[in-house]
Amino acid sequence: MRNLYIRWGGVCIIAIAFIMLTYNHYRDNLASLAPRQVKQEAPAGDIRVLGMVQGGTLETRGAGKATFALLGESASLQVQYEGPPPDNLRELKILILIGRWNAATQVFEARDIGIVPNYGFIAGAYLLGLLPLALLLFAMSRRVYFLYDEIKASKLYEEE
């Protein structure tokens, strides 16, 4: 029985270490701001903004150049994009923009445009897939040990 607990202790430690490793890997990508927050707080440096491209505002000028308004819950943000032709840029689409907020011109200068990464769904799927299996396996292994013990203790056991 002790062996079982030691083994599963090891599994838990590895699992926790792995979760921390993964979390660290994605931490920088997890937080995103709403357009309202950007306008109020005017953060410096690279930030990620989440919002929807407002209908009727998208204007593309040549390859890899576009302007549009990014709509949040209560505010919208003027965005200017320069870079490789964006695959996902379209009106009425919820997007994540990476870039900097230019407080002087009140324009968000986007460097990269991507679809919402949905990390919550990914984490949910892996937890749903792996956690029940681990719990079931642990319960079964423990029961096998108990059964062996019971068979020995009740003197039903006979060497064959």
Binding site: G55, D87, L92, I94
Partner: protein, 149 residues
Amino acid sequence: MGKKKVGMVVSLLLVGGALGYLALGNFGENVVYFFTPSEVKAFSTDYYQKKVRVGGMVVEGSLETYPDRLGLIFQLTDGEATIPVTFEGIPPDLFKEGQGAVVEGYWSGEHRFESNLIMAKHSEDYMPIELKRAGVELPRKDFMKSLVE
């Protein structure tokens, strides 16, 4: 004892019902999960104002949005016929021109499909964006061809 018999019957019914559903029920060839635009165009009036699903490819360059409200207009094609689709609401993240989509809604007499649900259909090829930009094509089932067949 009676309880056990009931339990047995219930479990057999469960399996029998499930298999029966597969064999004869609303499954397989009897019900088509979605119609193609060609089939929709050939709809008799019986199908008007009846909730149906239509699958096809969103025609490149056909997507239009309203300036004042949430909604889309686009053309859905199966390679042979094309129908205009209107949609109210926010489309799925993966909804895109040149990609597959299944829309649910009503085919009205005015030959316009009014949809209230869009499901984005993705293909079975997976690769990083760099490969896609480099023009790599992986073997996959031709969605258009499988619709027309």
